[in-house]
Amino acid sequence: MSVVNSVRNIGHAVIDAIWRIGYATRFFTLILLNSGSSFRRFRLTVKELYFTGVMSLIIILVAGLFVGIVLGLQGYEILKRYGSESALGTLVALSLLRELGPVLAALLFAGRAGSAMTAEIGLMKASEQLAAMDMMAVSPIARVVAPRFWAGVISMPILATIFSVMGVFGGYLVGVIYIGVDEGSFWSQMQGSVEFQHDVLNGVFKSFVFGVAVTVISVFEGFDAPPTAEGVSRATTRTVVQSSLVILLLDVVLTAFMFRGN
């Protein structure tokens, strides 16, 4: 009997997952369809931009600086073995622009802003605010979900870009000021190997994709959360776990497309 039960449980889990994916897709199209009416009240999006973007700024600034400092120290240690310390700028800038900036900023964003979005929408649902809006013929998706979605999508590339800049600054602090790598070669080697389209814009595009993924997961989990205290707490956990995994998975796919060894 237990064998039958375990098979049944697996089947149930698979069907449930597919069900949720379908529901999430329908939810995503609903957000896009309702974006027009939420843009007409752009004030709401600006308010959410403040809460998701501006409030995440401090953690992004500090984390970017620390990552840049570590990259500078570790990179110098390795490059010294080959006598090419002057390539430190290249190493710091390329690793930040292509990978660390978009990915780490998105992970921090998922933890800082994504979880807050899920908890907020989940609590609104639990306290029946969303149902009340529906009663008053106000679409909760246009009023609550779409502004949060667009705020996340807009602020993610900005945060990732600022993260990269802070990282480069951290690498500069360690490499040039603390260790004493030649300042001229630090910047010129960096400029010689970083290409605007291939490196900078690809990084920005990556963070845009991550922004869409993280915010869709966050608002969906909040909207779909069971209206209980436990349900909201589980949805918040799921947001952070799923966003992190999706960010890393998307990063693999995007990197495979963008940097195929040429």
Binding site: V54, Q191, V194
Partner: protein, 153 residues
């Protein structure tokens, strides 16, 4: 609708993002050192280009003056045809020598231009006649081994 301090913060946030992108473009990236709009194209053929890639730099006396824009194989002569785009400010004589060089021992490959003494200058679309191929380590070792074998006889 009135302005609030919230708008100020969001505005500052967006401005910071734009500034960061400009910094990445001009200080970290190469937008300031090379401008694609004022350039002309030259062609060159090589027997072997080694590891040269598109977007590799073109240098003369060590100064960056352009980039490789296209590499393809000429199907008639089985030679590599390389197209380079060079900054308009720099003109080169007709008998310029072009060679594939390596920066450092393990660095990436780039093109070096050594100007000749001709009075006529290369124009847009011209081909550089004199070229020197990349140094391929395997060929070099093969030559050394062959000459040793000759001596041993």
């Amino acid at each position: 609708m009135e302005r609030t301090s919230l708008d100020l913060w969001v505005g500052a946030f967006v401005v910071a993002g734009v500034l960061a992108l400009t910094f990445l473009a001009f200080k970290v990236g190469n937008m300031s050192t090379y401008n694609a709009s004022e350039s002309y194209n030259l062609k060159a053929s090589f027997n072997n280009i080694g590891g040269l890639k598109t977007t590799a730099s073109v240098r003369s006396a060590g100064v960056l003056i352009g980039r490789v824009t296209e590499i393809k194989l000429n199907p008639q002569r089985y030679e590599a045809e390389v197209t380079l785009s060079i900054d308009k400010r720099y003109q080169f004589p007709k008998d310029t020598l072009i060679s594939i060089l390596t920066s450092g021992l393990l660095g990436e490959q780039y093109l070096g231009l050594k100007p000749g003494a001709d009075d006529e200058m290369l124009k847009n679309g011209d081909a550089i006649k004199q070229s020197r191929s990349a140094l391929v380590l395997e060929d070099l070792i093969g030559q050394v081994v062959a000459s040793k074998a000759e001596n041993a006889k």
